[in-house]
């Protein structure tokens, strides 16, 4: 009998005890892990916020001139004490908003078209160079803080402490969702002294997969040797939204696994034009063309579905369409990574079918 060392080494070099679980399944599992991690982070932040809320703050004693340790928010505190800054003032774009001009407001509503608001705000600090707190706001995957999306814990920062129109106030305000990787950005905020947005454009928000319906577009005649299809993306949401860049395209086999293909942005059939932001009004359609060269060395796996992932979104919000048998030539090829048939070309989002061609 061989020594244990030799036996174990033989096992290490032997073929696997079991076939590895398909990556698609692992991905599903990874997605759950990420979701659970986010929930845990949010829970911890809420717990921390509650603890902070329960800690008596000396500033409140000053405001009340009493020894009470109860915690009140700015909107119910009463007259502003001398030298205690307020949160900007309701002016300009924020004239119809809530919480401006107050000390430690518990609700902040921008009053703008986007309807951004933050409720249940708990301030961890107030009166220093920066005031920091947390509250619940709407988050969506496009990364912006807009009026739609799930309610999540946000961190709020009031900064640029100074005098505006004779009042001591925080003149800048920003909030963000750290659990989604967002960070404080001193160059992008609401100027609550002048009533303007700084560092933000007024263009509509990025389109989300929920806003769009995807379907197979018209049949097209690709270049010689290429197979192609067009995907129509129609804005089914209530407002305009913007598509910019390229979608990530995955061809899926009947078994659910992704075909191993590299993605490029132009080919004989696909335009090499750079992407431009495309604003989709409600009901308007954008087009994406997908093309690939045939398999000269034979098909490895044939695609039965196409999955599109919008820029900045995750796999859980991808758009999927089924392919009919007539698209059987969309397949991965036997020739490995050097095979020109193992590359799929994808156009940017275009306003017309013609614009997807060179």
């Amino acid at each position: 009998m061989a020594g244990i060392e030799e036996q174990l080494k033989r096992i290490g070099a032997a073929s696997s005890l079991r076939q590895p679980t398909p990556v698609a399944e692992l991905r599903e599992r990874a997605s759950h892990i990420r979701k659970n991690r986010r929930r845990l982070t949010s829970g911890l932040l809420i717990f921390v916020a509650i603890i902070i809320f329960l800690v008596p703050l000396p500033q409140l004693h000053l405001l009340h001139g009493s020894t009470t340790s109860g915690r009140k928010t700015g909107s119910t505190i009463g007259p502003v004490g001398a030298g205690i800054p307020v949160l900007g003032e309701p002016t300009g774009a924020f004239a119809q908003g809530d919480g401006f001009g107050e000390v430690r407001p518990s609700r902040i509503y921008s009053g703008g078209d986007s309807g951004e608001s933050l409720s249940g705000v708990v301030w961890k600090s107030w009166g220093g160079v920066r005031a920091v707190g947390s509250g619940l706001g709407k988050y969506n995957e496009s990364g912006g803080k807009v009026g739609t999306g799930s309610e999540e814990l946000a961190t709020i920062v009031a900064f640029k402490l100074g005098t505006c129109h004779g009042k001591v106030m925080y003149q800048a305000l920003e909030w963000f969702f750290p659990q989604y990787g967002q960070r404080f950005s001193p160059n992008q905020y609401e100027n609550i002294c002048s009533g303007t947005y700084v560092g933000r454009t007024s263009q509509p928000p990025a389109c989300l997969s929920n806003d769009l319906t995807a379907r197979r577009g018209p049949q097209i005649s690709p270049a010689t040797g290429e197979a192609a299809l067009v995907v129509d993306l129609t804005n089914a949401g209530p407002g305009s939204c913007v598509l910019d860049g390229y979608p990530r395209v995955f061809l899926l086999a009947r078994e659910g696994n992704e075909l191993s293909l590299a993605q490029v942005n132009h080919s004989q059939f696909i335009t090499a034009a750079a992407p431009r932001p495309l604003t989709l009004a409600p009901g308007a359609t954008a087009y994406v063309a997908v093309a690939k060269y045939r398999c000269d060395l034979g098909d490895l796996q044939v695609a039965s579905r196409v999955r599109l992932m919008l820029p900045g979104s995750g796999p859980s919000t991808a758009l999927t369409i089924s392919l009919s048998d007539s698209t059987a030539s969309l397949s991965s090829c036997n020739g490995g990574s050097d095979d020109p048939g193992n590359v799929v070309a994808v156009s940017p989002f275009e306003p017309s079918l013609d614009a997807t061609n060179p």
Binding site: M1, E5, K9, I11, A14
Partner: protein
């Protein structure tokens, strides 16, 4: 694969079989090992950006997988039971006899001894890496290894256990 998952599939297919084999030797159960292995790779995928930048993504995976295995077995209260029944419960179709021989040889070792042997000789990790991964000193790894080898030798000199070739259901 998206850019965020670049390189995962190749790495996964390259190291899956060794991770599974290590956990199988440690636990005595292919099922428990397979579950912990999947969980570890799913966690690696969930944070692939960070894991692939690590000095040793595979080392990280071994640690996560071993922790997960321990957690699973403890939760199920099965650690001792599984080890006692390692041979009887062991059903593989590939290289069956080779596996049975190994499982019989390590059955009487402690979990730490089996872990050290598996990481050194199946995973082919250096002692320094095994020590880091198990959060023990290098000296502890060396002494555990010596004890494990001695225990295997002593066991070899005793009459054979229940292993018979028929356990392999005809294929090995």
């Amino acid at each position: 694969m998206t850019e965020a998952y670049d390189g995962f599939e190749k790495w996964y297919s390259g190291c899956h079989s060794r991770v599974l084999a290590v956990l199988t030797v440690v636990s005595g159960s292919v099922d428990a090992a397979s579950e912990a292995t999947d969980e570890a790779f799913a966690r690696a995928l969930a944070r692939w950006d960070r894991v692939r930048a690590m000095q040793s993504p595979t080392g990280w995976t071994y640690r996560v997988a071993l922790n997960e295995l321990r957690r699973q077995l403890r939760r199920q209260g099965k650690e001792r039971e599984l080890l006692q029944q390692a041979i009887a419960a062991f059903e593989v179709e590939q290289d069956c006899y080779m596996w049975l021989e190994v499982m019989e040889a390590v059955r009487h070792l402690t979990t730490r001894q089996r872990t050290v042997l598996a990481l050194l000789y199946i995973a082919d990790l250096p002692q320094k890496e095994v020590a880091r991964l198990m959060r023990v000193s290098r000296g502890t790894v060396a002494s555990t290894l010596a004890d494990a080898k001695a225990a295997v030798r002593n066991h070899e000199s005793t009459p054979p256990g229940k292993v018979v070739r028929e356990d392999c259901r005809g294929g090995y």
